[in-house]
């Protein structure tokens, strides 16, 4: 059963188009990843889905036309973003950050229960709960950002580069937590550069390169694929195949 269906999504910043005509879907309870190199359009896709930038196309979420809903109301319809670079509220305490996660009236009803769940998922946050969020380590902040996104009682959790800027050991513990979230009935759309970690938790994945989806497969299929390596290393080749010759011309 499809929870999020994206058809021909095009988005960008001003005149610059960063993703063009991409289509993908996320099923109920499924973990899907979008992988790709720097500048492939992953974060743009996330920003478009959460309404931070304007986009065209058809996006259906749980039967609703998502693009018609203003961004501050999307979270109430059950879609929650854990943003790139964490973006916790640095001068607020950990607990206040979490409270803000359940700010919308739909989520506020479950606040106490969700808070318990988040604290169970990340025991470190219990110890830190009166501390200013800005004073915590990157890994702790990432856990807080994840917890804050979960406080909104989402049906779909969108994670934007949860491994960004973290030590490998911390990445593992963050992904441990994601795995535990994935076991509940929350669907996850995961955006990553760290393909190894991302494919470990996902069941399916899409490869983005230069704003287009170049491959779609199961996690096992993608792990074995050579095309995915191309997407990271040989962008010029892919672009040429897609008809964009400006990279080649700039070399001459």
């Amino acid at each position: 059963m499809t929870l999020l269906s994206v058809r021909n999504l095009t988005a960008g910043y001003g005149d610059v188009i960063a993703v063009r005509d991409i289509s993908f879907e996320v099923g109920k309870g499924e973990v899907v990843c979008l992988i790709g190199a720097n500048g492939a359009g992953k974060t743009t896709t996330m920003a478009a889905l959460s309404g931070l930038i304007k986009a065209t196309g058809a996006v259906t979420f749980d039967g609703e036309d998502l693009l018609k809903i203003p961004s501050h109301q999307r979270v109430a319809s059950g879609i929650s973003l854990c943003p790139e670079g964490r973006k916790v509220f640095p001068s607020l305490t950990v607990e206040e950050n979490l409270y803000l996660g359940s700010f919308n009236p739909n989520a506020r009803r479950y606040r106490a229960r969700k808070l318990d769940e988040v604290y169970e998922l990340f025991p470190i946050l219990v110890e830190r709960r009166r501390q200013q969020a800005g004073l915590m380590s990157g890994g702790e902040q990432q856990m807080l950002a994840l917890g804050r996104a979960l406080m909104a009682s989402p049906k779909l959790l969108m994670l934007d580069e949860p491994s960004m800027g973290l030590a490998p050991r911390i990445v593992m513990s963050v992904y441990d937590a994601i795995q535990r979230v994935a076991k509940s009935d929350i669907s996850i759309l995961l955006v990553e550069q760290n393909t190894v970690a991302a494919l470990e938790v996902s069941s399916r994945g899409y490869v983005l390169a230069a704003g287009q989806i170049v491959q779609e497969d199961t996690a096992e299929g993608l792990r074995a694929s050579t095309k995915m390596q191309d997407a990271f290393i040989g962008i010029a080749d892919l672009l040429e195949k897609a008809g964009g010759a400006h990279v080649a011309s700039s070399e001459s």
Partner: protein, 338 residues
């Protein structure tokens, strides 16, 4: 959690109540010099609390003179035209301030930081120039006087001023316990992140600006009644803007207590330097300025931050010594989380 919440609430409320008591009650009995001090503290309280409200949302205002001036003219013109007492004209003055706040919110859209600050400055200056160029309404550069028969006694004037100031502090204090305030702080920290969590920044900005504008304009209305004379330079004086931010910055930004402490400290400093160094021309201002500069240099968190840190140190020392007083507090903390 709830127990702690309630404890914090009473400490805050009791302080506001005491502040009101200290300010309001003496106005009816004390000599005029004292009343002058009390009046100035009240005006500064209104300015600093309203400025701090905006600052807490990440909106640095350089245009409080605009709100103030609109309040002064609304009050004075209404009073003169219809012969209304101060209490009544405060209503249109407050409404005009709130309206100006809403207009400013609409006009500035999502501007932030320096860009927003410049807009507020432009608003205040624009209003001042407009007031100058509309002599039929405002009296222009010649100014207008309050009809003398409307002017209440100093005691009554100070009573009203202190009541309004206390009310504004109480409102600000009440807000700190509401989700509204959480949202404002979140917007100050990360506007996009707040938006993703379902907070509509535009709505909150509008309410904050309206509230802040209303408070300042109420102050302006009372100030106009106190002075009895208005011209655009007085009404939209840049000093108002400066004063409104010095007090919260010296007292401690982003907290009501900081704004209140700052207001008290500023007036005390101004008076003390005037009394002690007043006989030599300019020296008092020099001393006052130096104290401000060094105060802000060495107390980046303000007076309130200093107090908080001292309090924390005492608390930690007590816990380290393991006195019995600290133990139950820790147990309580453990019990709160379930």
């Amino acid at each position: 959690m709830k127990a702690r919440f309630r404890a914090a609430l009473t400490i805050g409320n009791v302080s506001v109540f005491l502040l009101g008591l200290i300010l309001i009650v003496p106005t009816l009995y004390v000599p005029p010099v004292w009343n002058d001090w009390i009046f100035r503290i009240s005006m500064l309280l209104l300015l600093s609390v309203s400025w701090n409200l905006m600052a807490s949302t990440g909106l640095i205002s350089l245009g409080h003179a605009g709100f103030w001036g609109v309040g002064t003219y609304a009050a004075l013109l209404c009073g003169n035209k219809y012969g209304l007492p101060l209490i009544v004209v405060l209503i249109p003055a407050t409404l005009c301030g709130a309206l100006l706040g809403v207009l400013l919110a609409v006009a500035t859209g999502r501007l932030r930081g320096v860009y927003f600050a410049i807009c507020t400055l432009a608003m205040a200056e624009g209003l001042r120039v407009s007031a100058l160029m509309l002599p039929k309404i405002t009296g222009g550069a010649a100014g207008i006087f309050l009809r003398p028969e409307l002017r209440p006694s100093l005691n009554v004037l100070c009573f009203i001023a202190t009541c309004v100031a206390t009310l504004s502090v109480a409102i600000a204090q009440y807000l700190t316990h509401t989700p509204f305030y959480y949202a404002c702080r979140a917007i100050r920290n990360h506007e996009t992140a707040a938006q993703m969590l379902g907070i509509d920044p535009r709505r909150y900005r509008m309410v904050v600006l309206a509230l802040s504008g209303a408070m300042t304009s109420a102050g302006g209305g009372i100030g106009a009644w106190y002075g009895g004379y208005l011209d655009p330079m007085v009404a939209f004086s840049f000093m108002i803007t400066v004063q409104s931010q010095i007090a919260p910055i010296l007292g401690g930004m982003y907290s009501v207590a900081g704004a209140v402490l700052g207001s008290g400290v500023i007036i005390a400093l101004q008076e003390a330097t005037r009394i002690w160094f007043g006989d030599q021309e300019g020296v008092s201002q020099l001393v006052f300025g130096c104290i401000l500069v060094f105060g802000i240099l060495f107390m980046p968190q303000g007076v309130y931050g200093l107090i908080l840190r001292a309090w924390k140190n005492i608390d930690e020392n007590r816990q380290m010594r393991g006195s019995p007083k600290a133990a139950p507090a820790q147990n309580m903390n453990a019990g709160e989380r379930k």
